[in-house]
Symmetry: C2
């Protein structure tokens, strides 16, 4: 399949890199941001353009959710396969008479951070079984964890990921505000954070819970509330503890 990637964000960058690492030729990387495109182009030796979309058999649209529909309408050919990489969009968002698909990698991507692509789960959906099979095979070159998944399932995968990744990172960011306020090096907390995650490789998260709320330790909860000076921290503190107490009937 002659392949073009559309987009130059974090996901597009890592897909271009994953394809390159696995000797899957990408014929063009296309988009609007010439600086980012040039960066990807140079790094992974892929021609780029901001103006002329190359003819191809497969277009992989990896742009922000709200741009997918518009970008998909740029593809005017019918006899091509077009997939987006979003966890929260149906295939039908793609506007054209071509064959439609979804190619969703479940990971958090930053350009500055290397990744082992072989561990990333890919979720594949296509209108036709033939396309689904070929995208499944394509993803399987990159990763050991490839599954088919319809939109309904994909939405819940994405929702779960928001809890398990986006919100978790936000807690790290808020935790760092607290440690920074006391000149405590955030490095102190890295072994604790590593172990928190290491635990759930082997234990049910529900059984791994520790801390004052699950112990019903009201003295410490009150002590902490008195330490907190930022309204946003107090809201998170109280809400998370209430939720923990509910889960364990404390």
């Amino acid at each position: 399949m002659k392949t073009v990637i559309i987009g130059s964000g974090n996901v597009a960058y890592h897909l271009a890199k994953a394809f390159k690492q696995n000797n899957i030729t990408v014929h063009q990387i296309f988009g609007r941001n010439d600086i980012e495109l040039e960066n990807i182009s140079e790094k992974f030796n892929i021609p780029f353009s901001t103006e002329q979309l190359e003819d191809a058999d497969f277009y992989l649209i990896s742009v922000s959710d709200n741009a997918v529909e518009e970008v998909s309408s740029w593809i005017k050919k019918d006899d091509v396969l077009v997939a987006h990489t979003s966890g929260s969009l149906p295939m039908e968002i793609l506007k054209g008479n071509y064959r439609k698909a979804s190619f969703y990698p479940l990971q958090t991507f930053s350009k500055t951070k290397n990744l082992d692509y072989s561990k990333i789960p890919f979720f594949i959906e296509a209108e036709s079984q033939v396309d689904e099979k070929s995208l499944f095979e394509l993803a399987s070159i990159i990763s050991e964890n490839v599954e088919t998944s319809d939109y309904e399932r994909r939405k819940y995968i994405h929702l779960t990921a928001v809890f398990a990744c986006n919100f978790v990172n936000h807690l790290f960011a808020r935790a760092k505000e607290i440690s920074d306020s006391q000149d405590l090096p955030f490095q102190y907390f890295i072994p604790l954070i590593d172990e928190t995650v290491e635990k759930i490789h082997h234990m049910e998260p529900k059984l791994a819970q520790t801390g004052p709320a699950v112990r019903g330790d009201e003295r410490v909860l009150k002590l902490h509330e008195d330490l907190i000076t930022k309204e946003e921290h107090l809201r998170i503190y109280q809400m998370m503890n209430e939720s923990i107490k509910k889960m364990y009937d404390k």
Copy 2:
């Protein structure tokens, strides 16, 4: 120093193990729960008792916060050093005429989970410089990361840890409720969770944030809210997204 550990919970278990691994003799493990004490005693070859507290130079009290005061009053000798392991109690909670100290390991402990003690930060405080030095040296046998820390600082360390560990684990538990409700294997999310944490080894958590809220993607936020069926999940979802939006002025 002739050493006795008091307690048989997760922290006592791991301290007994860490002492054993580093050839620091513990002369007795004392407490109320004979089944747990016997387990620790057999595993690490330490005599145990529920009745007769052994004479020692150093008593390390590792019991739940609300039991520390009572347990500390069992020690009737004056010329001994007594430390507790709590992040949220002052030394003065210890009730006796002995020399007082705090010996706080910053980690989440479960008996079923092995740990590399050399990476665990220990925070030491003692009434006298001599005791502080000897506890510092003791902790340094176990760990590479030993610091002195007064109660004020310890409280904030503990508060930060609640955000970075206890609340994070609770998000994993809530995320698993969502994935379970759709028969999605939680294993799908492990590479994502690993990467979320791996990232903050190298990046500021604030700069590593991804997801719909930081992008200001109201469509996805609404879509997810419509998928959520459990009130507790919706409260967390809305509150965390509000907090993310505030942090990034979205």
